[in-house]
């Protein structure tokens, strides 16, 4: 692959994928409608809106927050999230003195059920290479400038445990409903590369 004097031009990627789907289908190995059905949750049930609801509940219900930090899976189940893809989940509580952020340096593991399938930036070699080594510089580039007084704690998803950051609740949201709060919680904040902001 490394010698462009012998270019081994590959078929277009869409044609390669079609080829595999066609071969498996013609061999009778693809149940009718399977590919549509199996992938539908990726654009529907697996959504960062789930994590946002969990965050909003934790912001408004101190008892729930305590349960969430103690046993993330059980607390998510309370809201109806069964976490079928996550066998172990840990919720990382941001405070005024500790900021958490999540990465997977070796592939791109994430808590699909709470955060959705990961975005391209999370899967990029740039993010995977840099976050563990130069978190402050990278987060600053991404718009999050952390003060010196805050300790940065990066979680590398190298095993089977999955993580979600519980961001700081922004000022100016006193009295907001859970729904209002959930609407401002972004996937970026739950990965730890952004703050939750108002307006």
């Amino acid at each position: 692959m490394s010698d462009p004097r012998q270019p081994k031009t590959a078929a277009p990627i869409a044609a390669r994928v079609d080829a595999l789907e066609g071969a498996l289908t013609d061999a009778g190995l693809v149940p009718e409608g399977y590919l549509d059905e199996a992938t539908a949750p990726a654009e529907d049930a697996l959504s960062p809106r789930n994590g946002a609801r969990v965050v909003a509940r934790a912001w408004t219900d101190p008892a729930y927050r305590a349960r969430l930090l103690g046993d993330g899976a059980r607390a998510c189940a309370e809201l109806g999230y069964g976490l079928p893809y996550e066998e172990s989940i840990v919720i990382l509580e941001n405070t005024e003195t500790v900021h958490h952020a999540i990465v997977c340096t070796q592939c791109s593991c994430t808590a699909w059920s709470l955060l959705g399938l990961p975005p391209d930036w999370y899967k990029s070699p740039e993010y995977r290479a840099r976050l563990v080594r130069e978190p402050r510089a990278l987060l600053r580039e991404m718009g999050l400038d952390l003060p010196e007084s805050v300790r940065v704690k990066i979680w590398d998803t190298s095993g089977e445990t999955r993580y979600m950051v519980l961001p700081l609740r922004p000022a100016g949201t006193e009295g907001w409903s859970e729904e209002q709060l959930a609407a401002i919680v972004t996937r970026e904040a739950m990965i730890g590369v952004a703050r939750v902001t108002v307006g």
Binding site: A14, A27, A42, P119, R130, V152, D156, S158, G159, E160
Partner: protein, 210 residues
Amino acid sequence: MDGIHDLGGMNGFGAVEVERNEPVFHERWERRAFGLNLLGLAVLRAYNIHEYRHAVERLEPAHYLAASYYERWFTAVASLLVEKGVVTRAELERRAGGRVPLARPSVTVGAPAPRPEAAARFAVGDRVRVRDGRTQGHTRAPRYVRGKRGVVVRVAPSFLLPDVAGHGARAPHEQTYQVEFAASALWANEGRPGDTVVVDLWESYLETDA
């Protein structure tokens, strides 16, 4: 393996580009590739998730870096299904009307399965060191923590040992731990005091830091 996938701490990479309002899939083929892996894993049961991860790691290094996430994903699935005899490369290339690059073959049968421990060997607060072992097979101990000292901050559940399962062999469940490393221990003068990195590690990756 010390492969191209093990990117943590590598220099030379540039800015992270964030796409606004990014769709889950950018093109139809990405969704199909995603689905074909679910098929291979859950319906055909042709391989397990650890073998899938190892197949991604086995892409030619230049291909790995040049490909998008779902091209790597597709290539791993196609490679495994060819290796397992479900489809042939010749058929894929005939249907695709061109070359279908696959992962390089696995060069090892994987680690021998260790004897399962009766109970977790380490507890929260224990000082541990990551073994500086080497394998050309699948492992989940990133290169940047090998030989480094850290502290157990959480005893996590037991999971299949990837070093064995990644090669399709019968793998034991083994205790995992979240281990916290000082940034200054990982990156020398670059790491800021107080900053840390937490890595999720299987018990056999660790030894007591004497």
